[in-house]
C-alpha cells in the first residue's frame, strides 16, 4: 500500500469514469432488445448490492487492503492464493478492455495499423500514469471528468435537436414479459459493468472520510447506471433494435448520424476523444488494483516498480488472448460472464463477507463475556 489520500469526490469521479468506461461503447444488454435500458437498470440494482457487500467487508477491516483481509479470513496460504488469483483476474480483465478498445480503434479509424501498436501506445500511457500513483490517477480523473461530461451533454443535445430519436423504436415495452430482461440483467449487466466495482475495494483504504463511502459509492454507481440506460435507450431510439444489435459500437453509429446545420457532422473524433479517456481510466484502475495487490502479497515497498513488467504482461495478454475479434467476444460471453465473473465478483465476496461476519460475531460475543 502506498501513502495516498483520496477524497470522496475523487472516488465518485473514478467510479463514474470506470463504470462508463467500456460499457458505454458496446451494445450493452442488447439481448433484451428494445428493453435493454430496463435490463441495465435491473442489473444496476444487483450491482448496488454487490457494492454494498464490498463496502461491508471494508467496514470490518477499514485499515486493510483486500489481500490482507483475505489472508486474515482464510488463513495465510489460502488468502494469498486467492489474492494471487485476483491479480490474474484484474490483469486479464484489463487486457480484455484494452483489446476491445484496440479492435474498435482499428475498425473505425486506423484500418492498416497493427493492433499491437495501438494497444502498446495506450498501455505505455497507462503505465506512466499508474507508476505515478493512485493520487495522480484520481486527480487526472477530476480534470477529465468535467470535459467528458461536457462532451456527453453536448452530444445529447445535438442528437435531440437533430430529431434523430424515434421513440417508437423503444416500443413495445416488456414484449415477452419480464423473464428475458431478468435473464439479461443477471447473466450480463450485473457483472459487466456494475459488478466490476469490486476493484474499488483496493482504493477504499485511501479514503479519508470513511463514513460517506457507501453514500458516494452507491450514488456514483446509480448515476452511471442511469447514464448507461439513457445512452442505450438513445442508441436504440436512433438506430432501431436491428441496427443497434448488429452494430459493434452502437454509440459510434449514433454519433455518426448527427447532422446539424450542415456544419456539425462527422463528429467521430469527439467520440474517439471521450472513448480513449474513458478506456484509459478503466484500464488504469484495473491495472492499478492488480499492481497494488501484487505489491501487498509480495511485500514490495514501491508499487511503481511493478508497473513496467506487469504492464508489459497486460499488453502482450491483450494481443494474444484471442486470435480474432469474434473469438475475443465469444470468449468474453461464454467463458467470462458465465464462469469467471460470477466466481470473482459475486461468490468470493459473499463468502468472505460470511466468514467475516461469523468471525467478528464470535469475537464480539467473546468480548461481551
Amino acid at each position: 500500500m502506498e501513502k495516498a489520500k483520496i477524497s470522496l469526490y475523487q472516488l465518485f469521479v473514478l467510479i463514474l469514469l470506470f463504470e462508463l468506461g467500456s460499457a458505454i461503447l458496446v451494445p450493452l444488454a442488447i439481448d433484451a432488445k428494445q428493453d435493454a435500458w430496463l435490463a441495465i437498470l435491473s442489473g444496476l440494482i444487483g450491482g448496488l448490492f454487490l457494492f454494498w457487500i464490498n463496502y461491508r467487508l471494508f467496514l470490518y477491516y477499514p485499515e486493510l487492503a483486500p489481500p490482507e483481509y483475505m489472508q486474515k479470513l482464510l488463513g495465510k496460504i489460502a488468502g494469498t492464493f486467492l489474492a494471487f488469483w485476483y491479480i490474474i483476474f484484474f490483469m486479464y480483465t484489463a487486457a480484455r478492455v484494452l483489446r476491445d478498445f484496440g479492435e474498435m480503434l482499428l475498425t473505425f479509424a486506423y484500418l492498416e495499423t497493427p493492433l499491437f501498436i495501438v494497444n502498446a501506445l495506450l498501455m505505455l500511457v497507462i503505465i506512466y500514469a499508474v507508476s505515478k500513483g493512485i493520487e495522480v490517477v484520481a486527480r487526472t480523473g477530476e480534470l477529465f471528468f468535467v470535459s467528458i461530461y461536457f462532451l456527453a451533454i453536448t452530444g445529447f443535445i445535438l442528437i435531440v435537436f437533430s430529431g434523430l430519436i424515434d421513440l417508437n423504436n423503444l416500443k413495445p415495452m416488456l414484449e415477452e414479459g419480464i423473464f428475458p430482461i431478468a435473464k439479461v440483467a443477471f447473466t450480463q449487466t450485473l457483472y459487466f459493468p456494475f459488478g466490476e466495482s469490486i476493484v474499488f475495494s483496493m482504493i477504499f483504504p485511501y479514503i479519508t472520510k470513511r463514513k460517506s463511502v457507501k453514500k458516494v459509492g452507491l450514488f456514483a454507481i446509480g448515476l452511471s447506471g442511469i447514464n448507461l440506460a439513457i445512452t442505450m435507450a438513445i442508441n436504440i431510439g436512433v438506430l432501431g433494435v436491428d441496427l443497434a444489435s448488429r452494430s459493434q459500437f452502437p454509440l459510434l453509429s449514433t454519433i455518426q448520424s448527427i447532422q446539424v446545420a450542415e456544419f456539425l457532422e462527422r463528429l467521430d473524433v469527439f467520440f474517439m476523444i471521450s472513448m480513449v479517456i474513458c478506456i484509459f481510466f478503466k484500464v488504469s484502475i484495473y491495472f492499478y488494483a492488480a499492481v497494488a495487490i501484487a505489491a501487498v502479497i509480495f511485500k514490495i515497498k514501491k508499487p511503481s516498480k511493478l508497473t513496467y513488467p506487469m504492464g508489459m504482461v497486460v499488453l502482450f495478454m491483450s494481443v494474444t488472448i484471442a486470435s480474432s475479434y469474434a473469438e475475443h467476444l465469444k470468449e468474453g460471453l461464454e467463458f467470462g460472464t458465465r464462469y469467471v465473473h460470477p466466481f470473482f465478483l459475486v461468490i468470493i465476496p459473499m463468502l468472505l463477507l460470511g466468514i467475516a461476519f461469523i468471525k467478528n460475531r464470535k469475537r464480539s460475543s467473546h468480548q461481551k463475556i
Binding site: A109, D268, I273
Partner: protein, 540 residues
Amino acid sequence: MTMSLFSLSKKMKKLKIQKKPAQQHDLPAKALQSSLQEQIDYIKEKTGNSIDVVIRKLQLGDGKSAAVVFVEGIADSKAINDFLIESIMNKHPVHNSQPIFEILLKEVVALGDVKEITDWDNLYLSLMSGESIILVDGAQKALSASTRGGEHRSIQEPGSQVTVRGPRDGFTESIRTNTALIRRRIQNPDLWLENMKIGSVTKTDVSMMYIKGIAKDEIVEEVRNRLKRIEIDSILESGYIEQLIEDQPFTTFPTLYHTERPDMVAGNLLEGRVAIIVNGTPFVLIAPAVFIQFFQSVEDYYGRADIATALRFLRILIFFISIIAPAAYIAVTTFHQEMIPTQLLVAIAAQRETVPFPALVEALIMEVSFEILREAGVRMPRAVGSAISIVGALVIGQAAVQAGIVSPAMVIIVAITAIANFATPAFAVAISARLIRFGFMFAAATFGFYGIILGVIILAVHLCSLRSFGVPYLTPMAPLIPANLGDTIVRLPMWAQKKRPRLFSDNKENRVGDNQKPQPSQSRGMVNSALEKGDQDEQN
C-alpha cells in the same frame, strides 16, 4: 588482491565522506590584530591592492591614528564624507575615561546602523556589502557603519507583464528597494522578512518575505529549509535559486512564479504565499505556484470581474492553440480528412498539391524557421530589428508560399500559433508550450488524433503529478476545492471572494466582510428628492 581492492575502495569512500565542501570551514574566525598598520596591510593583501578599496587614514583627537575603509561604488560616498570622515575630523574624539570605541559609537558616527566587529570574516563580509569599516590603532575591534549605497537603476516600469491599468513601478536590482516597494503596499508589522547569504563566493543577499498568520507555517518552514540547504558558489539571478529549490526538476513547467511587479508579489503574499527576493535581479520568486496562476494577470483584479473571466477563458484557449494547432493541422490533413467540410478540403488539397513535403515536414520547416526568427529578434540589437521583421515576413509569408515550399494554410496555422504563444501572460509557461508543441506534432504525424489524445492524457497526468512546495500543481481544480474556485479560470468580484486558498493559508478568516455587494437602493431617495427640489426651484 580482491580483498585489498575492496578495503581500498572502502577507504576511498571514507575519504570522500570526510572531505567537506570548501566553503564550510569550521575554523575559528581569525581575530583582528591590534596594530593599525598590520590591519591595513592585511586588508591590502587580502583584496590584492584593488584600487576601489579605499583606505582613508585619519588622526583622532589624542593623536591616535585611525582609518576608514570602504569600497568605492557600492558604498554611499556622500554619507561617508558627511557623517563619518567629516564628523571624526571635526569632533576630534579624545580618549578619556570611556574607551574610544564607545565615544565613536555614541558621539561621532552619525549613521543609523553601526556594529562592532572582532573577526576578519565578518569584516570582509561587511566591507564587501558596502558598509564602511572604522579601524583604530591599538584596538582589536572595528566598527562597521551601514553606508550601503552607490548607483543603481531607478524604479521604472517593468519590461515584462505590462498592464494597461495598475501601478507602474517595477522591481530593481537592489534588494532593499524591492523589499521597500512591497512594504509600502502592505503596511503591517506581520509582514516578516528573513535574510540569508547564499553563495560561498558571491555572498548574495537572499530574503524571504511572508505575512505571519496568513502564510502556512509548514510552507514557510519548507521554503526556509530548501534555501538553507543550498550549497553553491554563486547566485547571480533568482533563476539559480529556482533551479535549486523546485520540487520536480524534470519538467518543462515552472513550479515557481517569477515577477517584476510589486503589486503582484503583494497580492500573492496576501494569499499566503512566500516571496523570495534575490539581490541583483528584479525578478522576485513566488512559492508555491500553481498552474492556473500562470494564466492570471494582475490586471484581472483591477478591471471588471466578468471581463477578467472572459479573458482567462481566452488565455486557456490560447494555451491549447499554441500547443495543439500545428498538430491538429497535421492530423487532419494526413489522417482525418473526413472531418473537414468538403469545400475546405478541396481548397486545402489544391494548395497542398504543389508542396513536395508531407504535412509534418511542412509544419516543421515553418515552425523551426519561426523559432529561428524569434530567437534572432530577441538577440539582435534594436537598430537592426526592422531588418528582421522584413526578412521574417518574406520567410514566413508570401515568398515561402510562392516558392512552393509550404501551403498558405500552413502559414496561417504557424502565424496563429506564434501569436497565441505571445499572448500567454506568463513567459515561463509560454516557453514550455513552445517545446511541447513539437512533441505533439510528431505524435500527430504518426497517429493522428489518437496520438494527440494520448499526448493530452500524458500532459494531464504529468501536470497532476507535479507539486510546488507540496501543493498539488493543479489546485484548486484537481484536487477540487470548491471554496477556492472563485479565482481560477473564473474570477468572481472582490466581494464574493471570501476565502484564501486553503492549501497555502491557515488563515480561515474571511477576506471581505459580509454584505459587501454594492447595492444602489439607498441613494435613490436622495436623488429623487434632489430632482424634485430642482423642479420646484425652476417653477419659482
